[in-house]
Structure formats: C-alpha cells, structure tokens
C-alpha cells in the first residue's frame, strides 16, 4: 500500500506530491507529519485507540454512508447529462438512460442501490450512536446528524418523483396531500413544494431543483461540519474499560487504510449489485387513474400503512413525536455511565430486550385479531371520529410510552427509558412496513403465499 501511494505521487511536482502523498514531506517522515501535511488525512486525529479501530465499536456505518453519498454524487451528475425535468420529456429521457445510453442502466442502477444503501446505513448509524449514548458531550453533532438524516429522507423523496412513472407520480400526489394534515404550515409547505395545488410541471421542476441542488448542497455543508465536529469532540465517545488496552496507535496507517478499504468494499459490492440487478422503471404515468394497489417505496411503507389508519397520525403526529424525541434526547440524558457501550449498562440492555420482545408479541396479537377481522370491520365498529384516536398507530405510541416509563422506573436511567421506547417504535414500524408490503388490491391484507385476486 505504501508503494502504491509512492507510485501515485512519484512524478508529480513537489507541492502537489506533498499534498497527495502522506509521507513525503519537507520535515521528517513520521506518521504525524503524514497526517499534518495531507489534505485527505487532515480530518483524522494523529493517534487513535485500539477500541476505536475495532469493527464492533462503530461497524463503520459513518464511512459507509459517506461512501454512498460520494457514489450518489458522481452517478447523479452522470444521470443529469441525459435526464430532462419536463412532464413530457422526463419518462422518455429515463427510457433513453435505461435502454439506449451506453452504461446508462448501470449508472442508474448504481444510483438506486447506493441510495438504498445510504438510507439503511444512515438509519443504522443513528441507532448505533443512540444505543451507545454516544451523543453525550456531542449535542451539536447529534443535531447536525439529524439534519443529515432529514436531507437523506428529502433526497429519497424528491428523487422518487423524477422518473415520472406511474408509481412515482401517485406516491408524490398522495404524500403532498398528507401535508394537508400538518397544522399551520402544511398548506404553505405544500404550495411551495408543488408550485401550485397539484403535481404538475412546476412540482417536477421544484423536486428536481431540490434533488440536484439545494439538498445536496445542504448535505455537503452538514457533512463537512459533521466530520469536523468528530475531531473537535475528541473522536469516539466512551473511555476505555478498566484493564482494556489504552495504547494509542498512529491513525496512519491503522485507521486511514481501514477506512479506504471499507470504502472500496462498499463501492465494489454496490457496483456488483448494480451490474447484476438493474433498477426498475415503472409504466408510464396516468395522472388520473392510480394502479390498484399503489404502493409507496419500501422505506415509506410504514408511513403509508399508518395513514391508511389515520392521515393526521401517519402524516404528522408520529413523525413529529419521533423527531421531538430524537432532538431532545441528548439534552434529557445526562448520564455518563455506559457511554460508548452497546445499549449502555446491563440493566439498560435487559430493558431494551424486554421492550423489543413485548413489541413483537403485541404485533403478533394485532396481526391475529385485527388483520383477521379486516380493516373494514375495524372502521365500521368505530365510526368516523374514533379511528383517529384508537388505531394501531396510537397503540404503538401508548406502548412506547409504557415501555419507556417501565424501563425508566425499573432502571432509574433516562437512556434506558428512551431506548426502550425507541425500540418499541422501531419494531412496530418495521412490522407496519411488513404489513404494508403484504397489502394487495383495495389495500386488503394478503399473506405472501396468497395470490392477489385480479381486479379491473
């Protein structure tokens, strides 16, 4: 590897060589000077603990997310060469990319799979930091991370409309109407987002602007702050355990090469998947007739399932509760015990485990009673007002609060309380995603082994 970098800068003029090659410097050849003089490595601390290097400490999820973002930027720019954001041209230009342009379907597939990888890795990254209490003393960076998470969701949502096929049009038309349930600001956000009251040319152009300019720019700025704060906040959270090896190793090559290797692996795996599985392009849009069923993309299926119980609940109450909880978390949890350990203390681990099991059991019961009776019977039994108050979504909130309360009283720890509530929400939302995936025509539940009836 050393040879590779030497070869890289071998014939370059001095200044450039010093910038690229982390060893060749005016003064000395120490690890420290490599890091100090190189742009690529200036983000890293000089020395790092053994614990920080272990895979199980972070699972490298931040690096995976960053790599996905870089892949998305490059493939996104390539797609912009052919894509045209017009209601008449968009779908045709997607067909060009998919079927005519050299490497077009590969680049599009890579963009799609990298986007999915980023959604998953960003979510897991958030859960990793939350479960370790690693936001302690890093309140600002936790908020910056939440901002990044919002950007990722925004990019996924805006990018979904761009192919202008049947699924993407109806998904956005339905989501835009969800904003009507957001109090005060919903209507204004909707008309700003769509440039009118319906999803048409103005909406497509605005989504395009958000997807290729505003959100990536915001994301780039936040990524820069996020990475800078990691160093400012003293690296990874958590002191070494007693008796644990507290020896410091130079970041070059121990950390830097591991990161480079992980980035390469992410690229190789995503490229292999993109080469084998191309991204689907739906049927041309019919702006007046939705398909039956019209399903949201998998990462928003939970929201679709929730709005099918109650629009205000899925569109506003649950997202707002989750956001408020996540923003408030580092300011409510002031405990230093167990920081940097998976699920903190043994008591906390136990509380989280019990909450997860309770949530799975509740989901199973719900599956047996509610789904067997069918949502029609549920709505009939409750009339038209009560379904907004009594439904599986509010059941989830009540259960999360109960789990948080129980865990908080049993362990006396805010973090255990929060993590227990969060794990209940996660298990339930995953359950709603699976139930949403099983929805067939007319939004009726069918088991995966049952066939869907043909509908006209």
């Amino acid at each position: 590897m050393k040879g590779f970098f030497r070869a890289l800068g071998g014939n370059l003029p001095g200044n450039l060589r010093r910038g690229l090659r982390p060893g060749v410097a005016d003064g000395g050849n120490s690890a420290a000077s490599r890091l100090r003089r190189s742009f690529v490595y200036h983000l890293h601390p000089l020395r790092i603990t053994r614990r920080a290097l272990r895979v199980s400490t972070t699972l490298g999820l931040g690096v995976v997310s960053l790599t996905a973002f870089l892949i998305l930027s490059v493939t996104g720019v390539l797609l912009m060469i052919y894509y045209q954001p017009g209601t008449g041209e968009a779908y045709a230009s997607m067909q060009d990319i998919q079927y005519a342009v050299a490497l077009g379907s590969f680049v599009r597939a890579l963009h799609r799979w990298a986007a999915y990888a980023m959604l998953v890795s960003v979510l897991l990254h958030l859960l990793r930091v939350a479960s370790m209490g690693a936001y302690r003393g890093r309140e600002l960076n936790w908020l910056v991370g939440l901002g990044l998470g919002a950007c990722v969701l925004g990019l996924a949502f805006t990018g979904y409309l761009l192919p202008w096929d049947q699924r993407s049009y109806w998904a956005v038309r339905v989501s835009a109407n969800m904003l009507d349930s957001v109090p005060f600001l919903g209507g204004a956000i909707k008309s700003m987002m769509l440039g009118g009251q319906s999803v048409g040319q103005s909406a497509l152009l605005r989504f395009y602007m958000l997807h290729v300019a505003l959100l990536p720019a915001g994301m780039l700025a936040l990524v820069a702050v996020h990475l800078w704060r990691i160093r400012r906040d003293g690296g990874l959270a958590g002191a070494p355990k007693e008796g644990e090896d507290s020896e410091l190793l130079p970041a070059w090559p121990h950390l830097v090469l591991r990161e480079a290797l992980l980035m390469l692996w992410v690229l190789v795996i995503l490229a292999a998947v993109a080469a084998l599985v191309s991204a689907p392009l739906g049927v041309p849009v019919d702006v007046h007739v939705p398909a039956n069923p019209e399903k949201a993309p998998w990462y928003f299926l939970w929201a679709q399932e929730l709005v099918s119980y109650s629009a205000p609940l899925g569109a506003f109450v649950i997202p707002a509760l989750l956001l408020a909880g996540l923003v408030g978390l580092p300011f409510l949890d002031r405990e230093n015990v167990g920081v940097g350990r998976w699920f903190g203390t043994p008591a906390c681990r136990l509380a989280v485990l019990f909450s997860a099991l309770a949530a799975i059991a509740a989901l199973g019961l719900f599956e047996v009673f509610y789904m067997r009776a069918g949502p029609g019977a549920f709505f009939k039994a409750l009339g038209t007002v009560w379904p907004d108050v009594v439904n599986p979504g509010t059941g989830m909130i009540v259960m999360a609060l109960l789990a948080a309360l129980t865990a908080g009283i049993a362990t006396g720890s805010t973090r255990a309380a929060f993590l227990s509530g969060l794990v209940v929400m996660l298990v339930m939302l995953l359950g709603f995603t699976l139930i949403g995936a099983c929805r067939g025509p007319n939004w009726v539940f069918y088991w995966p082994w049952e066939g869907w009836p043909s509908v006209v």
């Binding site: 109806w170 038309r173 339905v174 835009a176 109407n177 969800m178 204004a188 008309s191 700003m192 440039g195 009118g196 009251q197 319906s198 048409g200 040319q201 103005s202 605005r206 007046h288 007739v289 939705p290 398909a291 039956n292 069923p293 019209e294 679709q304 709005v307 099918s308 119980y309 109650s310 629009a311 949502p375 029609g376 709505f379 009939k380 038209t384 007002v385 379904p387 907004d388 025509p441 007319n442 939004w443 009726v444 509908v455």
Partner: protein
Amino acid sequence: MGKKDKAKEKGAVSSRRDFLALAGNVGVCACGLAAAGLGARLAVPELCDGPPHKFPVGPAADFISGTLTWIRDREIFVVHDGDGFGAFSSRCTHLGCTVRRSTEGFYCPCHGASYDSQGRVTTGPARKDLPWYLTWVGSDGRVWVDTDRVADCGSKSANPEGSAARDDEES
C-alpha cells in the same frame, strides 16, 4: 484579563467591544434569516396554473338519464336522472387518489376507503364525503360545473335551465 473574567462571572456584557461583537453576530444572523425568508417567499407561487374551476363537461344531450359519467380530465362524476344534473368529485377525500366504482358505490384503491352511491363515506380512512359541486345546463345546451361552489350531497339542477348560476357561465 481579570476585568474580563469578572464581567464573565457576572454574566453581563460589560465592554463596548463585547457589546458590538454581540450586536454584530445578532445582526448577521438576522440578515441571514431575513434572506432565507425572502428566498422562501419567492417559492410561494403567485400565479395559479391549471384548468379553470368553472367548465363545461359536454352537451346535455350526451348524458343519458339514469347514468353516471366519469369526466376523466376533471376528475369528477356527472350524474343525470329525473331530477336533473349533478356532479361530485372522484378524488378520495383521504389522500386524493381517484376512486373507482364498486357494487355498493365507490372505493379507493390506495388505502381502502369506500363510499356509497351518493359519495358518502361508508368505511375506511376517509373522514369526509365526496364533495358535490354546483351544476347547471347553460344556454349553450352544455352541462356546466363549478368546482369552487360546493353543493349539498345529491343536489341536482332542474332540467334543463333551472339554475340561478347560469348567468355567469360565460368565462
């Protein structure tokens, strides 16, 4: 230094320099927020695109009595029976998908809401009935609908020229 520390202990802004620095920071932040607000204002559409809200849906003679016709481009149903013409929305009041006809009335394929033959909610996540609109037969012999004027459920205009609204049909 000692003076500054004391000031900090009191938590007060003591020196002119501190005050000016604070005022500068607040000013820059305020300007940034104002600029962001103006940028957001630009994104609020002033012009309303899309088709007019008052429109003809076809010659009255084309609608056979006792039938329900879906006007695709306008996303409304037009009914014609002995009482005259009526029109109501085909957009589900839950999240705006187009409803389809069923044996009992209408259902929405997106989240399973269903309505009776008059567009009243029977089950599902929708909370409101499908809205009816003011409908009349104009002097040009065409059926007109105004989607800005909501009518009572099942209301129909007398056949053929019984509506007070017909004088403002020229648009």
